[in-house]
Amino acid sequence: MIKKSIKVNPQECKECLICQLRCSLAYTGKFNPEEARIKINWPGEISFTDNCIESCVLCARYCPFGALEIVK
């Protein structure tokens, strides 16, 4: 899905997968990057799954490198 709440800057992504770790902890209760609602195909691709919630910006809050920016 395309999210309006998050601006994606794939060139800044460092593949640390902190976004996936945070997302999977929040929505599955476990650390499981494969089940995260944000998909990272480094280098260059960042996408969101269809069940990702538009208003949720948890992953962007934890991106240390500016690859995910919260749109205010």
């Binding site: 640390c16 997968l17 770790l21 209760g29 089940e35 240390p64 490198f65």
Partner: protein, 650 residues
């Protein structure tokens, strides 16, 4: 498994019989040995008979991922590779091998292994033909690798297995490992090297080309709320660190410490090349959970090797920052040489330096074309060796072509023996491997001292002791590593510290990090952890309430276990020997942290203090019965040799 972080199983694979079993991870073993590094060692003790040939099927490969691997704990991507090492670890005895624990950061391998449900893999035996191990959650299969063996290098194998299985973790070896070249190493996730001191050759001896793993079961957390509270604090501290932006842009070369890594055997010391980074770097990236993106993709844009794209590079991002090891004035050939070393899976650090060593002997006229199977190793100028002959030599080492190259691939001692020159008198060689740090440059302080006392291979445990760091900061760092008030008081005075004593605590801290899966690099250089924060992460994730003091005790216990396994293979104080090159070169530039020259007596006294602090026997340099009892390691007492026969140990 009732505790978070751990996933509760050890996977046993016998390649000879094809038998695959899954055993529960005993809760007592994690309480006694933490995980990763520590549990690997305990398993190795049980599985490795003393005196086993490192390339025999009986030598197990144990891969571990500690309880914090695959969690959000900052910088917790490390996996371990534990086995008996093929490269001799003794200065004088070729058949003395010892036990190695290699460690590496991973992007996928560590979290995939845990998500598949395994904390450790134990591989024994030898497959009938070329094979790779495939792990997809509960399905484990030994697969035919005939189409990879002898045809694909470590990176091509990683790419091919990723093409076949999609997102997965891959540990693969190249042709050098297949050929049982002892200076060979494996590559994890196509970038980091894992298995220094001959791990690649052990894979080759088992006919094992790769391990591929996929998992999506999830790693449980005991108290997510408590975990995120400590994480939020770490995240803020790291991202607000003044050096954070430089690190994010340049990776490891932005650290001042990189200036202390080797360039052409430190003659002369390099320093100005890091400005070239932007000319070749395409991107840099992190391991999972890490805010220190130390790996990079390099691409040459000009010169004879234009368009050479280097696979993801590792710490230290040598290449343009460090063309010196190969001695080329232009960094292009430097990158080309590194590519030539890494593709067939050769151990970069050792192979670079062993090539330097024989080139030096050639320049001095101590060896000639007759000794090198016709290769001219003479340089055209100090910074300008002949790239073609260098690459040719590297290819010959990987393919075991000719007696000369074959001997080089066996490691430092066979080479020293063949040419009658003690390598450690000309190069920074200690315990059979080239050191990471040179004490003449960084001074003989804990970070360089631990290369002498470390039982297995050299590890990176940067601990903030580089020249110029104020003593108060080093003291605070010691307290952060969990030193008690008493330990601090006997190690520090107002303006000095005791190197030998402090080294002991640096090692204990390293044992904790590697057992839990934390990388020493961001942990130390980024002030990202103290033992207090590590204890909080461990307690929140596992649900096993711990304290910095308890972790410190377990770190010491793990390090004693590491030492014991090497004592079992015959190691003692005689092997804790500084490379004589450090003393001989550059008009005795070996100095302590305060720039005072180090005499032989001073060095021996530093070692004495180290053993005192460890509570070990000072004469033999090995653990005592009292220390083992104190650490609840009494059951391993049988390893200790009879110290009445003191002559043997001095």
């Amino acid at each position: 498994m009732e505790y978070g972080g751990f996933v509760g199983k050890i996977l046993f694979v016998d390649l000879t019989t094809g038998k695959i079993t899954k055993e529960p991870l005993d809760t007592q073993i994690i309480k006694d040995f933490l995980g990763g590094f520590g549990v690997d060692l305990k398993l190795l003790y049980e599985l490795l008979p003393r005196g086993t040939d490192p390339l025999a099927p009986e030598n197990p490969i144990i891969i571990g991922a500690g309880p914090l691997v695959g969690t959000i704990t900052p910088g917790s991507p490390k996996v371990t590779f534990t086995a008996k090492r093929p490269i001799s670890g003794s200065a004088t005895e070729e058949d003395k091998h010892g036990v190695m624990v290699g460690t590496a950061g991973t992007v996928k391998f560590g979290f995939m292994l845990k998500n598949a449900g395994y904390d450790h893999i134990v591989i024994t035996g030898k497959a009938k033909g070329p094979s790779f191990l495939k792990i997809v959650n509960d399905e484990v299969e030994i697969c035919n690798a005939t189409d990879l063996w002898g045809k694909m290098d470590a990176y091509e194998t990683t790419a091919e297995l990723t093409r076949r299985y999609g997102r997965c973790g891959v540990y693969a070896v190249g042709q050098a490992s297949e050929n049982l070249v002892k200076l060979s190493i494996g590559t994890v996730d196509g970038h980091y090297s894992l298995g220094k001191a001959g791990g690649g050759a052990i894979m080759g001896s088992k006919n094992l080309k790769a391990i591929v793993v996929y998992g999506n079961k999830g790693i449980g957390v005991s108290d997510p709320k408590r975990l995120m509270a400590v994480y939020d604090e770490s995240f803020k501290r790291i991202t607000e660190n003044p050096g954070f932006k430089d690190v994010a842009r340049y990776g490891t070369p932005s650290f001042g410490a990189m200036a202390y890594l080797p360039g052409r055997n430190w003659r002369p010391f390099w320093g100005k090349y890091w400005k070239l980074i932007d000319r070749t770097r395409v991107a840099n990236a992190s391991c999972i959970s890490c805010l220190t993106p130390c790996r990079a993709i390099m691409e040459l844009k000009e010169g004879r090797f234009a368009d050479l794209r280097l696979v993801r590079r590792t710490f230290p991002i040598s290449t343009p920052t460090r063309p010196a090891p190969e001695g080329f004035i232009d960094y292009g050939p430097g990158l080309k040489v590194e590519d030539a070393i890494e593709r067939p899976g050769l151990d970069r650090q050792n192979v670079q330096q062993i090539v330097n060593f024989v080139s030096l002997l050639y320049e001095r006229g101590e060896i000639t074309k007759e000794d090198t199977d016709g290769l001219v190793l003479k340089q055209r100028g100090f910074w300008d060796p002949d790239i073609d002959s260098t690459i040719q030599l590297i290819e010959r080492i990987a393919n075991k072509e000719g007696d000369f190259a074959k001997c080089l691939g066996e490691g430092w001692h066979p080479v020293s023996k063949r040419f009658g020159v003690d390598a450690s008198a000309v190069m920074s060689v200690c315990k059979g491997c080239h050191t990471i740090l040179d004490a003449r440059k960084v001074r003989l302080q804990p970070s360089s001292f631990v290369q002498i006392t470390g039982p297995g291979v050299h590890h990176i445990h940067f601990s903030g002791h580089f020249p110029g760091v104020p003593i108060a900061e080093i003291k605070a760092n010691g307290e952060g590593m969990g030193m008690s008030e008493e330990e601090v008081n006997r190690t520090f005075t107002v303006d000095e510290f005791d190197t030998g004593r402090l080294a002991k605590h640096v090692e204990d801290y390293y044992a904790i990090e590697e057992s839990l899966g934390i990388c020493a690099l961001p942990a130390q250089l980024h002030s990202c952890h103290t033992l207090g924060s590590i204890a909080e992460y461990y307690s929140a994730i596992t649900g096993l309430e711990t304290s910095p003091r308890e972790l410190k005790r377990l770190g010491e216990k793990v390090w004693n276990m590491y030492k014991l396994l090497n004592v079992r293979e015959g190691f003692n104080r005689k092997d804790d020997k500084i490379p004589s090159w450090w003393k001989a070169a550059d008009n005795n530039l070996l100095r302590d942290y305060w720039e005072k020259p180090i005499t032989r007596d001073k060095l021996e006294s530093m070692l004495d203090h180290y053993y005192f602090e460890r509570g070990w026997d000072v004469k033999s340099g090995i653990p005592t019965e009292a220390k083992l009892t104190d650490l609840a390691l009494g059951e391993f007492m049988e390893i200790l040799p009879d110290l009445k026969n003191e002559g043997k140990y001095l």
